[in-house]
């Protein structure tokens, strides 16, 4: 009888997945809030990058560009959530027996697709679908604009770098009803201030954060005295990270664009 109860319990736990608690290492900080939203408990996330505060109990395993491979190996992860191939090359990935999940979305739609894929892998399909629905609902609140607002988004002031066509910001602007005037197929573009003046965007957005610390406001810079655009200051961590934040950022941007059009 006791043996039967034990086998039943084991079978039940296997079925529900709680006996299969994963050991997850997250090397792309924007993915951690997604895991939290999917209901992944603290004990399953065993390693994170050093600026990741979502799972405070997890071991810090370096930065997303320079992770400590020894520490990661010592954590014996089942799943590694990593960024682009540049940040975590295939050659490095092959050194681990753990499953590798690449989280490198460049559009809001790709973020939703990634959430669904993570939900599948983590056995949280329903939570993932609910999250996708919630995020899609935010997007549905975006109001259409009579015409696209022309935009340039500054990534850093010194030197002057702006978001290109391969940046998540490019899609965020598009979804919010704007049009990024910089169409170079790169993530970040080192651009001439002359070009910015000639493109004459309606809105010039500059971010403030780790990549653009203490920037001088654009119109106070000597080369932008002739810039006639409306200037918007945004937080880098809110607008330029391909995570959950991107959806509310798109909505906020849409409201800003609406006020510009009016």
């Amino acid at each position: 009888m006791k043996r039967g109860v034990f086998l039943f319990t084991v079978f039940f736990l296997l079925l529900t997945g709680s006996a299969l608690a994963l050991r997850i290492v997250v090397l792309y900080p924007a993915a951690s809030p997604i895991l939290r939203a999917l209901g992944i408990p603290d004990r399953e996330v065993v390693g994170v990058t050093r600026h990741d505060r979502v799972y405070p109990g997890a071991i810090k395993v370096g930065s997303h560009l320079r992770p400590n491979l020894e520490l990661i190996r010592a954590l014996a992860p089942d799943l590694l959530i990593v960024g682009s191939r540049r940040a975590f090359p295939e050659e490095t990935a092959r050194k681990f027996s753990a499953r590798i999940f690449r989280y490198d979305p460049r559009t809001l739609q790709e973020i939703l697709t990634n959430i669904k894929a993570l939900g599948e892998i983590l056995g949280r399909r329903q939570a993932a679908e609910a999250l996708v629905e919630k995020l899609s609902a935010i997007l549905s609140r975006i109001k259409p604009l009579p015409r696209p607002v022309t935009v340039i988004y500054e990534v850093s002031a010194t030197p002057l770098k702006v978001a290109g066509a391969r940046s998540i910001v490019n899609d965020l602007i598009r979804v919010a009803g704007g049009r990024n005037l910089v169409t170079v197929p790169r993530k970040h573009v080192l651009i001439s201030p002359e070009k910015v003046l000639a493109l004459a965007p309606e809105v010039y957005i500059y971010q403030v954060g780790p990549m653009n610390r203490h920037p001088i406001p654009p119109k106070k810079r000597p080369y932008f005295r002739g810039l006639r655009s409306r200037i918007l200051r945004v937080e880098e961590l809110e607008f330029a990270r391909p995570g959950l934040n991107a959806f509310s950022a798109a909505l906020k941007l849409n409201h800003m664009f609406l006020s510009c059009v009016r």
Partner: protein, 334 residues
């Protein structure tokens, strides 16, 4: 510097006058090219409001700053070579560039662009003080020790910059691009300040030209000829460091100019300090304006290249060509 052993040329040398005229033409030509070409095509004689702003608020100060930075770095390289009595000396080998950059990077991370100039100056002066202290012996400056001390300061400052880049993590790209050099943040105020520094430094060099020529001999000969050798070296070191610091603060690290410009002119056969100083200023200015023009126009859609990459590539290739072509006449067999 074995090349300085050549006989002193006669005053009013026609060849030098012709070369001066040629260099002035070259600078003017490159200036016109640099002002008339850029990321945005401009009709210089039919400018609209945007065009006028682009020309006078962006392009013109940038071209002027590029020219002056080229002149400043080339002049600093020349002075460092006189101090160290070594053809390999320039702002890099003396540690002035890296220590100045260390100050600027610290300022960028902690306080932003506003403090870059004072921090770069402070960095350069600290680096210079370290080199000075290490290389001083009973009031004398030892050239070889100074070169070694410069390399140590350079290595230390470069390591400190690497550490800052590591700690700054996400600001790395910004720092790296800044270190590669560029003239995007040109203003007339900066142009004025650098013009003053270059003019004063060049004037100093011209006034000291006979003494500079005598430093090419050994210390005893120079001293017995009445040259205040040790004071001269201190002054040259300070002037070179000042020029480097202001250039680094305004434009990041731009390599190779201080090394190749004086050498190219020596290879062509200009050896007297009275000739080298103005020639180095003019040629350095033309070289840097040309490099910046290429950095601004090589890529499509207003994209830019870091100018430091171009100066090193262009300068390196040209220098290599000269080395291969004229290696027999170079220092060893001159």
């Amino acid at each position: 510097m074995g090349s300085s052993l050549a006989p002193p040329p006669k005053p009013g040398n026609r060849r030098e006058l012709l070369a001066l005229g040629g260099l002035l033409c070259l600078v003017s030509l490159v200036f016109v090219l640099a002002v008339s070409h850029g990321a945005v095509p401009l009709k210089i004689f039919h400018l609209d409001e945007t065009g006028r702003r682009i020309l006078f608020e962006v392009r013109l100060p940038r071209v002027l700053l590029a020219g002056l930075t080229g002149a400043a770095l080339a002049l600093a390289g020349l002075y460092f070579q006189y101090v160290m009595q070594n053809p390999l000396a320039d702002a890099f080998t003396t540690g002035a560039s890296a220590s100045s950059a260390l100050g600027a990077v610290l300022a960028l991370l902690v306080a932003g662009e506003i403090l870059v100039l004072p921090a770069a100056l402070a960095g350069a002066l600290l680096g210079l003080a370290a080199v000075f202290h290490i290389a001083s012996l009973r009031g004398r400056l030892l050239p070889v020790t100074m070169l070694l001390a410069g390399i140590v300061v350079n290595t230390f400052a470069s390591a400190a910059i690497s550490l800052l880049k590591f700690l700054a993590d996400e600001s790395v790209a910004s720092i790296v691009f800044w270190l590669m050099g560029g003239f995007q943040n040109a203003t007339y105020a900066r142009v004025g300040l650098l013009a003053g520094a270059v003019f004063a430094s060049a004037l100093y060099g011209l006034l000291r030209a006979p003494a500079l020529d005598l430093t090419a001999f050994d210390d005893e000969t120079a001293l017995s000829s009445g040259v205040p050798l040790y004071r001269l070296r201190r002054e040259l070191l300070f002037t070179g460091a000042l020029l480097t610091a202001v250039s680094v603060a305004f434009s990041g690290i731009i390599g190779f100019v201080g090394l190749i410009v004086p050498h190219l002119l020596r290879l062509i056969g200009f050896l007297r300090a009275g000739v080298l100083v103005p020639f180095v200023v003019l040629f350095g200015a033309a070289f840097m304006m040309l490099a910046d023009l290429l950095a601004r126009t090589l890529l499509p859609q207003g994209q830019e290249l870091p100018v430091g990459v171009l100066t090193s590539t262009l300068g390196g290739l040209f220098f290599l060509y000269l080395l291969l072509k004229r290696k027999r006449e170079l220092y060893e067999l001159a």
